[in-house]
Amino acid sequence: MEKLLEVKDLEVSFQTYGGEVQAVRGVSFHLNKGETLAIVGESGSGKSVTSQTIMRLIPTPPGKIKNGQIIFNGEDLVKKTDKEMEQIRGKDIGMIFQDPMTSLNPTMKVGQQIMEVLMKHLKMSKSAAKERAIELLRLVGIPMPEKRVNQYPHEFSGGMRQRAMIAVALASNPKLLIADEPTTALDVTIQAQILELMKDLQKKTGTSIIFITHDLGVVANVADRVAVMYAGKIVEMGTVDEIFYDPRHPYTWGLLASMPSLDSDDKAELAAIPGSPPDLTNPPKGDAFAPRNPYAMKIDFELEPPMFKISDTHYAATWLLHPDAPKVEPPEAVKKRLRKLSSNYPQPVIVKESE
């Protein structure tokens, strides 16, 4: 499969009065054409910073890309100037944001906000752009688009606004769509509709999607592959099946155990992950998750675990996969879902740094 995007060893920091916050600490992943990658993690895990860095939307200063490459379509976005990025933003990469209530300009007609993209990147005339804007609104399922195109955002409901945002993001047929928690601010029925719409549009346009979320239920619904982020690093990455049916990292276990499921016994309490994420001004020595990890071993507090490869597509960074590690049992809620996956290697393999 052809890679559309490859992020290599990305490090992003922010200068604050309290010191340098290392929001993203060496993230590597890739995205194939037509694929959906979900990036999951709790608040402050660096998932939004990662996605905004791909778009080069983080304000610099205080933000700074300290290291790494973002290869998109064969070009390194880190090296691009702001002017060059303007030709990529909105054209090759579209972005949808979390809060549709504030992401549209309140004093500009919705149609105009879509037309802007068309006129800038596809050099359309005003009338052609308007035609296309109406088409796009129809495509994202907004009824009476001829009328809606002349309305202002406050005349749209939250779900409608997110649909309009999707129309903006997809206006110039981007190769990559980054959706930064697109359903978090919506109520559950609307969430389902928006997810359905995104899947449908992906089928029609063939765009690749990076889907940022903290909701594992959403992940199961939309993603092909999943990357789990914690404290600015990817701790586990694999196909949806691998993450849901054969998770290896204790943090992923914690996330899965904290998710309600239909067949769970109604007396069982949902397990929470104790503690809170570490302060990234002073990232802890060893594994950042160790202090909250009931399975932590001595080495976890000393040395950062390397990436282990469990199958061709499944990676996890935990010492538990080391041949010398003791056998541990995942929590009950996770154990119930475990399945044997035939693609796994007989033994996890340590990934070399250069890979």
Binding site: L57, M95, F97, T102, P106, T107, M108, E116, Y152, H154
Partner: protein
């Protein structure tokens, strides 16, 4: 829209009535009268004067008479300037004050908004600090000092403009500058803070994610939203500026309306006090109405009540 405006005009009349009433009684409550002076006037003459101007009538009679004449746009004769009515005073002074005020207002809005935007776009850089130092100076230096400084340097030292008097367009430049200084500073600060707030909004990030350039984002997305608070402020401000400034008019020897506000009170020139107060109130109320209407155009979220739904 029309319904809205007529409704507002009706409220304006009500406000005016209250203003007239309050001014009338406050004025009468102050000790002394228009003919009180150091020089003793013989009681017969004072009596005659009071009779002539209707001041001997009971207060409710006077009040009623006054309401009737105001409704006919007749502010009565001035007590101080013999042979002139208050209407004459306003007709003479207002065009001068209006012209000067307009000039100052245009200067202040254009320079102030520009400075504010430049400062906000270069937040915490030298342009920002420069503009804000200028703004603090503009706010803290009183207008009479600013006027004297301008006179000294631009008129006396450099000779670019006449020092004072009101004769040609050249004569208007210095007083307009002096009047505009504080306004410019206020508007610059207001624009800057409002612009900074707007630039931090999510929709600016969306605009950036669309690939728009900095210039396009500023012009198309930021300025319009940032100007809303400035427009609000502009209503009362313009009423105040257009009716003239006592200080500036005194320093530059300008025959404007501003001086009447102050002198009429010390003179207990009842009709002039009432006249200029009512006139000022009308201007103020009109300005506020204009701002509200302008709001409806700038911000589509604001629908003027009385307009049809979905318009």
């Amino acid at each position: 829209m029309l319904r809205y405006i007529s409704k507002r005009l009706l409220y304006m009349l009500l406000s005016l009535f209250l203003i007239v009433t309050a001014t009338f009684f406050l004025m009468r409550a102050a000790p002394g009268g228009p003919f009180t002076s150091e020089k003793q006037i013989p009681p017969e003459i004072e009596k005659n004067l009071n009779e002539f101007y209707g001041l001997d009538l009971p207060w409710y009679h006077q009040y009623f008479n006054y309401l009737v004449s105001i409704a006919k746009w007749d502010f009565g004769p001035s007590f101080k300037y013999k042979g002139q009515t208050v209407n004459d005073l306003i007709e003479e002074g207002f065009p001068v004050s209006f012209f000067l005020g307009m000039e100052a207002l245009l200067l202040a809005v254009s320079i102030g908004v520009l400075l504010g935007i430049i400062a906000a776009l270069n937040h915490n850089k030298w342009q920002d600090y420069g503009a804000m130092v200028f703004a603090v100076l503009g706010i803290s230096v009183p207008s009479f000092i600013m006027a004297s400084i301008l006179q000294y340097f631009l008129a006396i030292k450099l000779g670019w403009f006449p020092v004072a008097r009101w004769e040609s367009l050249q004569h208007t430049v210095l007083p307009a500058l002096a009047l505009a200084a504080t306004l410019t500073a206020f508007i610059a600060r207001l624009t800057r803070s409002s612009m900074l707030e707007v630039l931090g909004n999510d929709y600016i990030r969306t605009a950036k994610a669309k690939g728009l350039s900095r210039g396009q984002i500023t012009v198309k997305h930021a300025i319009r939203n940032a100007l809303l608070p400035v427009v609000t402020y502009l209503g009362p401000l313009s009423a105040q500026v257009l009716t003239g400034s006592f200080v500036i008019e005194k320093i530059f020897g300008i025959p404007g309306l501003g001086s009447h506000f102050v002198t009429s009170i010390t003179n207990r020139d009842y009709t002039t006090i009432m006249g200029v107060t009512v006139f000022y109130s009308i201007l103020l109320l009109l300005a506020v109405l204009l701002v509200d209407i302008a709001y409806g155009f700038i911000d589509p979220r604001i629908k003027l009540a009385g307009g049809k739904k979905g318009e």
